[in-house]
């Protein structure tokens, strides 16, 4: 009996609704520091869009789900969004492996998937498919954004530290390749690859110092970054050694460093308080008014993801997946970071990031000397991408 009851619960389906449904899934409990602001960004966008009349005469409805942080659960959750909720667009995901699994499912089930956050290059290149589009500047792009400053320093001996999984591995590979191309005499003298979240910072700092590098490239973030920074500060690793760190300037990670923030590091990130373009000011004011909190990098990603879906729906004039896919190709739109294009070639958006240096201000870390790096300028040439994408 119990079991029949359970089945009855499962079978009961939701009432038919007239809204256009965006199905979003993410690892809310695994990466809450990034994803709570992200959710707020999405909700702000939904409110704005529906407040000004919705899309195609209908309201947008956002359905968010926790994907449990692993591909197996994520695929089940995505199936639920597709077949039970009958969403018109799938979006979200954070980690590379989850993003790739959902992207693969989207191709199998022929549903538009806007991968908002996963940074892996493979999702648009080696494993790219017709139905998947990715918003954020990838690991490759963000690494490439740091290269000009790295080359300017003319340092010969580089040490590298990265979290040992897809993101850190491909950041490291791209960095080595790009720097070597720009500066053939470069040497990579040490590599530390601690497991994600488990860096043994004291030992790692000592091992890097042993190699006597001229400069350091790191892709650490979150708790690993904080441990590394504190140990490095105490042990004097950064005193005479410039450091480049991917994504460390995102408020999610920078703000936790407080008075430990090491001066002069080159990072990619989001100096939210200092960007005063009209489009960013509008977003920031609206966000602060709505949430009584300042926007993080995640807020922008969530906000733009929802607008992307809305713009694609408007351009397609329909909720038909094939039409949406065609509309996404070459879609041009404004964002708080300025205009972006969704490249037809590899389904990557040209959203950029800010490159700048760490400094301390009133006991808090900030980004200074920053400039905006437009994503369009940091992608490999057309032919190279075409070779990677086996469609």
């Amino acid at each position: 009996m119990r079991f029949l009851f359970l089945i009855a619960l499962l079978v009961s389906s939701n009432a038919f609704s007239q809204n256009i449904k965006l199905g979003e899934l993410n690892s809310y409990k695994v990466f809450p520091a990034f994803l709570e602001p992200y959710k707020k960004g999405m909700e702000l966008a939904i409110e704005e869009i529906n407040g000004s009349g919705g899309v195609l005469g209908k309201k947008l409805e956002l359905i968010t789900r926790d994907d449990g942080g692993n591909p197996g659960d994520a695929v089940r959750v995505a199936e639920e969004l597709i077949s039970r909720e009958q969403v018109n667009v799938l979006m979200g995901t954070f980690a590379s492996n989850v993003g790739l699994a959902v992207s693969n499912l989207a191709a199998q089930r022929k549903v538009l998937f806007i991968a908002s956050e996963p940074l892996t290059d493979k999702i648009v290149w080696e494993n790219g498919n017709r139905y998947t589009f990715r918003l954020r500047p990838s690991t490759y792009m963000q690494t490439a954004m740091l290269i000009p400053e790295a080359v300017k320093l003319k340092k010969k001996r580089w040490a590298i530290v990265y979290p040992n999984y897809e993101y850190g591995q491909s950041a490291t590979a791209s960095f080595k390749k790009l720097l070597k191309a720009a500066q053939p005499d470069v040497e990579f003298v040490a590599e530390q690859a601690p497991p994600l979240g488990k860096i043994d910072a004291g030992a790692a700092v000592q091992a890097l110092a042993d190699a006597k590098p001229d400069a350091i490239f790191s892709s650490l973030f979150a708790a690993d970054l904080q441990k590394f920074v504190r140990e490095g500060n105490t042990r004097g690793l950064f005193k005479n050694t410039p450091v480049f760190n991917l994504i460390a300037g995102e408020p999610e990670y920078l703000d936790t460093l407080k008075d430990e923030t090491p001066d002069g590091w080159w990072v990619t990130g989001y100096p939210w308080s200092a960007i005063n373009t009209p489009e960013h000011r509008k977003f920031r004011d609206a966000y602060q008014k709505r949430w009584k909190d300042y926007p993080r990098q995640g807020s922008v990603v969530g906000y733009v993801s929802v607008y992307t879906a809305a713009n694609a729906l408007r351009k397609a004039g329909s909720t038909d997946t094939e039409k949406l896919v065609e509309a996404m190709k070459g879609l041009e739109m404004g964002t708080p970071f300025g205009p972006i294009v969704w490249r037809p070639l590899d389904h990557q958006s040209t959203m950029g990031a800010y490159v700048g240096q760490f400094a301390k201000k009133d006991g808090q870390g900030v980004m200074v000397n920053w400039r905006f790096a437009d994503g369009a300028n940091f992608l490999p040439p057309f032919e190279e991408v075409k070779l990677l994408r086996k469609e």
């Binding site: 079991f3 029949l4 359970l6 089945i7 499962l10 079978v11 409990k29 695994v30 809450p32 520091a33 994803l35 709570e36 789900r65 926790d66 692993n70 591909p71 197996g72 695929v75 089940r76 199936e79 639920e80 077949s83 039970r84 590379s96 492996n97 790739l100 699994a101 693969n104 199998q108 892996t120 040992n164 999984y165 897809e166 591995q169 040490a190 590599e191 530390q192 690859a193 601690p194 979240g197 488990k198 043994d200 910072a201 004291g202 030992a203 790692a204 000592q206 091992a207 042993d210 979150a222 708790a223 904080q226 441990k227 504190r230 105490t234 042990r235 004097g236 999610e252 936790t256 407080k258």
Partner: protein, 605 residues
Amino acid sequence: MSWPSVLIQFLNGLAGASSLFLVAAGLSLIFGVTRIVNFAHGSLYMLGMYLAVWLAQRIGFWPAVPIAAAIVCAFGALVEVAVLRRIYKAPELLQLLATFALLLLIKDFALWAWGPEDLLGPRAPGFRGAVEIAGAAFPEYDLLLIVLGPAVLAFLYFILRKTRYGILIRAATEDREMAAALGVDQRRLFTGVFALGALLAGLGGALQIPREPASLGVDLTVISDAFVVVVVGGLGSIPGAFVAALLIAQAKAFCIGLGYSKATLVVEFVVMAVVLVARPWGLLGQAQVAARNPGLRQASFEIPRKKFFIGAAMLLAVLALIPLASSEYTMVLLTDVMVFALFAASLHFILGPAGLYSFGHAAYFGLGAYAAGIFLLQAKLPMELALALAPLAAGLGALLFGWFCVRLSGVYSAMLTLAFAQIAWSAAFQWDSLTGGSNGLVGIWPAPWLASKTAYYLLTLALCTAGIAFLWKTIHSPFGYALRAGRDSPLRAEAVGIDVRAMQWAAFTIAGLAAGVAGALYAFSKGSISPDAMGIQRSVDGLVMVMLGGIQTLSGPLWGAALFTWLQDAAARNIDYWRAATGAVILALVLVLPNGIGSLFQSRK
């Protein structure tokens, strides 16, 4: 490495060892006396960290440390009195389920109370800077830790050796029944030991904040490290825990120093596997006195009667007809339920009848899943063949690992299974060319005739039913009886000519094979596979399903799998704090139905 850097890495190792020892000592004490496998120990440590950071902002670092530890200690005592005390008589491992529920609750509590962002604590006043040692700057605070670890060891040693309370603890560690027979009040002793263990965990966490931010992932990181240290040192042995912490911390520091940082992914598990194979009771542990009168005798599994077969046939018929009347997503969810039912049944097969604990059963699930993907994508075999061959890979893995594991007993054996599972996991994680590394393999889809959700669901239903039926049939075969004889009385079983180890080895392999079937079905249902399919989390999920359903019934694990899968799915969809909700439901079930939900379906005697 130059000599100065060898010295510095050695000091790094010492500081790391002190941190590890502080958390492991409490776990070891708790296990030694109460036999509780305390999954929430890392959560107590995490609680200590958050409390210390929070308090330090208000009253300064040094006062914050003892206060945070004291709060965690009080919380530990409360947990023991309110929850654990009620279930000491329940089947072993049930406490594991209760502490797992606590882990979920504490995690969401920390998220609710302190928010999602990592909290980097202050530096310790008086120990902010570094001193120069051999030309390198070495943090003063690490020097303090190097002293603190042995100081806590000495303190515990004094308590255990020189005080009456300590003597009682040691007596209970060595022989719980005898201590009880001599009039030692077990209830007070257990509460005291649990509180002391919690105090140590809280202290360890609080002392860690100058080195590491309080973050929500700490609990799981710490718990696996602490378990390894406790087992390598020998369960219940405090000096052993210290030696093991030293060994593991030094191994890590020198892996990093010598440029093999990738090895830190798995080095502690390799150390544990080597130690356990060479010394079955850990470095300083002793053979445990077998509990003379286990809290509850293992019931013999009922021989299925007519009623059972009618019920099973009806259930099967309903399941087979479901596709006619339900949505696609129901198929998807039920496919997961079937897969995990087989996985749980295979784990139950060694946990129940064979009496072998396994904390690493996901290894065989993962091997099956990966083999399916590799056969399909790399070897280009047809899907049907890949599905048929994949379980053999899992069976082979179980054959190999099982040979070692059946040589140990109890928690040692369980931890060896965990060590092997972690080694297999790290191989999947690192072997980019074969397994796709951390991304895993994508594009593992079933053949066209199985592509529809309904077809795949029916295939899963058929294979899982066959697998479960085979396992159950085996339990009631002479082989199954021999297994149970070996579990209940190894000596008498040997005496009547049963080769207990060989039987257990065979059982281990059969269970691995069945888990491999589940894994392969899982891979094709998801279209992709990545290392977490064989991670610790999956092994723990399996244990939770079996214990939730009840280890003493045959059908219990299936109900456990169904309930747990459905609960996670439903809770994650409807509740923000779904982990806490899952934890609360599990905790309630543990208290109300200590013999599992399967006991509801048993005929009354």
